[in-house]
Symmetry: D2
Subunit: 364 residues, 4 copies
Amino acid sequence: MSSSSLGKLFTITSFGESHGRLVGSLIDGCPAGLPLSEADIQPELDRRRPGASAADTTRREADQAEILSGVFNGFTTGAPICLVIWNRDADSSQYEKIRPTPRPGQADYTASVRYGGFNDYRGGGIFSGRLTAALVMAGAVARKLLAIKNIEIIAHTVAIGGVNALPQDIQAVKAACDRNPLRCADPEAAAKMLARIEQAREEGDSLGGIIETVALNVPVGLGEPLFDTVDGELAKAVLGIPAIKGVEFGSGFSAASRYGSENNDDFIIKDGQIATATNNAGGILGGISTGMPIVLRAAVKPTPSISRNQQTVNLNDMTPADLTVLGRHDVCIVPRAVVVLEAVIAITFCDLARRAGIIPRVIA
Amino acid sequence: MSSSSLGKLFTITSFGESHGRLVGSLIDGCPAGLPLSEADIQPELDRRRPGASAADTTRREADQAEILSGVFNGFTTGAPICLVIWNRDADSSQYEKIRPTPRPGQADYTASVRYGGFNDYRGGGIFSGRLTAALVMAGAVARKLLAIKNIEIIAHTVAIGGVNALPQDIQAVKAACDRNPLRCADPEAAAKMLARIEQAREEGDSLGGIIETVALNVPVGLGEPLFDTVDGELAKAVLGIPAIKGVEFGSGFSAASRYGSENNDDFIIKDGQIATATNNAGGILGGISTGMPIVLRAAVKPTPSISRNQQTVNLNDMTPADLTVLGRHDVCIVPRAVVVLEAVIAITFCDLARRAGIIPRVIA
Amino acid sequence: MSSSSLGKLFTITSFGESHGRLVGSLIDGCPAGLPLSEADIQPELDRRRPGASAADTTRREADQAEILSGVFNGFTTGAPICLVIWNRDADSSQYEKIRPTPRPGQADYTASVRYGGFNDYRGGGIFSGRLTAALVMAGAVARKLLAIKNIEIIAHTVAIGGVNALPQDIQAVKAACDRNPLRCADPEAAAKMLARIEQAREEGDSLGGIIETVALNVPVGLGEPLFDTVDGELAKAVLGIPAIKGVEFGSGFSAASRYGSENNDDFIIKDGQIATATNNAGGILGGISTGMPIVLRAAVKPTPSISRNQQTVNLNDMTPADLTVLGRHDVCIVPRAVVVLEAVIAITFCDLARRAGIIPRVIA
Amino acid sequence: MSSSSLGKLFTITSFGESHGRLVGSLIDGCPAGLPLSEADIQPELDRRRPGASAADTTRREADQAEILSGVFNGFTTGAPICLVIWNRDADSSQYEKIRPTPRPGQADYTASVRYGGFNDYRGGGIFSGRLTAALVMAGAVARKLLAIKNIEIIAHTVAIGGVNALPQDIQAVKAACDRNPLRCADPEAAAKMLARIEQAREEGDSLGGIIETVALNVPVGLGEPLFDTVDGELAKAVLGIPAIKGVEFGSGFSAASRYGSENNDDFIIKDGQIATATNNAGGILGGISTGMPIVLRAAVKPTPSISRNQQTVNLNDMTPADLTVLGRHDVCIVPRAVVVLEAVIAITFCDLARRAGIIPRVIA
């Protein structure tokens, strides 16, 4: 019941700090018998690694996944799986200096109050985006488990800095996504996004965006109402990712301005199965999966670390202070956050599938 | 750890059905020593009761709150508080007829699969908006507890059917809210919303909208990162309310198209306290409350029950079927959902405050 | 995560008070499709009802089980099942008088401190043995679920007041148990126990004893190490029953004085299955069921309510005080506690079986 | 909610394997501001290390405690604390050979079924007593936290191989305990126990015993009825330690043969405080601490690993098989288990104290 944990039967717990010795995830409740090695995890870590695009930080981390427990002779044992990445390229030099002046948009101030000033403030400590690397490792395990049931999680960039991608076919999304450095399946929009990013970089500013995640082949019937719903569990997990400020499902906020007759999805028979003609519900009715793709969109705020001068307060003497954040930062974390969203969503579906008995305790 | 439960230390569990004998909430972890009687709960139930506006269903329920345990000599005892409403005006006649044909936009189909057809389908069973009456009762207790710490939860309608209210001062919101039948503080917008509702009613259609909730006087430092965050817990709770399809905090989805320099809230000193010049963060940084108002907006989809003809499937013989839903329904549940949002948000803050030790085990 | 709850996937929550309006249990996570009516529950309640033997209180409660939710058309729906008993024969007259003088061996004093004096002290409030009636109702549902998998829970009295029953064959235990008013399968021992009870009654005193519970046909492989073990979960549940002061499994405390070569159970093949030659492990190795009968013994302290004069303290003025507890009490609750142990153990096995996927979400 | 976890607000999760790379504990919910370094943890590990007495295994592990996260500048940060010990002296050579023949009294067979044969069987994997080293590290943190409130946890050996220690004054227990290699405060009994152990060693056999734990200065009012009681939580935690087969509180099983008038503890006034004249309740009434010492006794079965020939089954061909367990084992783990009991009991009290608000979120 740790607050750093997600999941009831498939549980992951995060630990570590941005500038400490390591970041890690502990998975408990992973079925025994899943083939697993670092080679299953490393590719996901590599996808998250900065450097793929102009949007990313210049911090370079080798980010080598390491399995410390729970795997034996190449298979999961059913025991807790400890996954870690040892930190190597951390540069803490600037943080001591700016410590008394909390950075706008960051957790510096709230963490300082919450933990009485004892929090590791270097690089944001546990609030750093760096911890999402640990989530990505756990997500790689979750995705491997879901693959047994053919469940796929695909995320892609649908907006950056006000540029919206046009809807694309899911096959196009899959094909384009990892080839395009912004992970946007609409090449024209991607080009415009890139231009915006370059401009923001020049201005020492940053940009946000919107990520859409689609879960395919989720069987009908997952979800535990009233509160452990598919949407509720996903939203809670996704909001654990730094910088996410909103979550919507299916038609989401746009449903608010529609008629019921527009927004309801008619039931139809397709390939002998019950389906819906449209998917405004985003694959969820009453908190339970409908069998249609689960569609979630998450709003990512612009990276709070910008090189422009900002106004803050010196906590030592309670005076106004100027702040210019140096260091290496992503102009726009959206392309990297795509990988993190896939991870936490995969983790959540694993837990829901375990509770529904769809993924057994032992993989035969 | 029941899936019908919310909260770790202040826990509420919902039970009952729309057309069963009752709906109820069980509160565990309520501090001892809170003065409590039905008179504290009934006004909240009355606020939720249909009939205040043209938007509401014509179903009439006396909705009498009843405390069955946990209160002794006018004070909470620290033991579980069982709150119930006995159902009286349920009309189940039409549901048997439409049972094989799941209603679009409702949980009929998913519930039928999830529960193997054993679910109580009358009026949606546990998926009915009626269960929110039980949440409102628990919310009334939570609000009383929060009031000890001066924490206030205020929700209001900011959009219906595409009509957006202009931002209002929070004092105006408080003043206007319960006087305006749509719970919208902008009178001009409210008039337009009403016109839309009347039109939708005539057309046998329905409308959605957006509700904003503001939590005032939440002290800095609530929230349990990484995952039991203020935003994560609120989102999970709010998505347990039927018809909510999206949740955002502060600038929310609009943050996605802003620059970091626009979206960051500068820290300032105000009345000797640290505050932020703007509140795009919605009172949450790193999942922890900042001391500024917590601002959440929720998208409410249009009521799925409409009188217009819809397309569905007959589950008995897997053939296409027409469906016209009779019965009494809200054209737009937004005004009533305002009260429900206040309730689940109050419940969530109570739990967060209990965990932070702000609300003690005994009210002195 | 309410502290009045047991179980992760099959969860029961207790509520109500001894002298309040009702006692009840709320079950969440019960599979849909189980045939259930009050007629399944009432017989278990009747078994617990006082009056079967000389050992029991003279308080008479009709104790009518009532199902308020979660059952529709004779089957469980998968929604929370609310089970209640309305209190009828409560006599609270004496409790006001003795309120300032906590009864030795009762929770009066600790409850008063824990709840700041706001607890319902009448008849012990939530600490009363009366709440076990609610557990027995939930246990009846659990036992019906376990019966699907042929799992049986049988408890019986093995000691009262220092008189020990000789070990009996499990068939003899089953046969004898409900016929013998003390629920002791050894008739000679039972006769001696009865004599002790009569003597204790005459002396205004009370007796304790030991109850053995055997779970038959529990498949090998239940239990979630390291801490959600079969023994850990059972012990926690059983210690929730008032008056239980010790729990042991298999050879239990007597293992402490044995050699390893005596206490280890050799593995053998029996009817083509792996079994153990002896069962000193009580059916549990490493917290996981072995397939052998699960054997738990619980120590029941003598009923603290005795008619003899006792020494206590007046909380109002912190002076020594004499106390003579009037009212109607069991001389020895062991025979009635037998039924309660069966209930909580059945509830715990249901949860473990749900987690192991042995009992599905829907009963076909 | 991982099954490898203990605690709601102060949560520890165990991981690692006996013959894997490491064993570890992850603590979440530790207050910020506690001074902590490896030097606080190592002494407890050293106390648990084998070699103190003739009873212990000859396996030698450096057992160096290492803090990987959650501590910064010498203080806990409030973030998860990852504590590990890297395994160094593991000898896995014999386990491959005996793999198909489960050792009597060990978890080999149940683990094999539970995890479909994928469990790490070397040295018992996660079921090894070695994992208790990780619990001892977490316990060292818990004890430091409890010390702030003056709460002390003291365990000692009260029986080995049928030799019972005479009751000793708690000061004598404290003084004698770590000096006596068997951690028994009665020197005469200790001498006899040692003789029994030597004899058992010569015979290739093993012995069990009983450990008593006393928690001093626990304030009145801890515990969350009905089920998260002091006794229920302690029992669950203690039964997570391998080889524990029974738990009792206060007069425990001996209460079963007493009269109520003997077993009830009269309330008295002592030093201006309410106390009880005796402590048969073991410091717990109604699941809530009374303010008196909390007294728990745990039955430890004889070490199942013995050098004598035993009967088992070859799982490969389902034939009877002989087994002689080689390797290095404790003749009697009781003296080392003393340290482990202190640890898990300290962990449990930390969690109960956190829930009661007695230990705050930040240590001032």
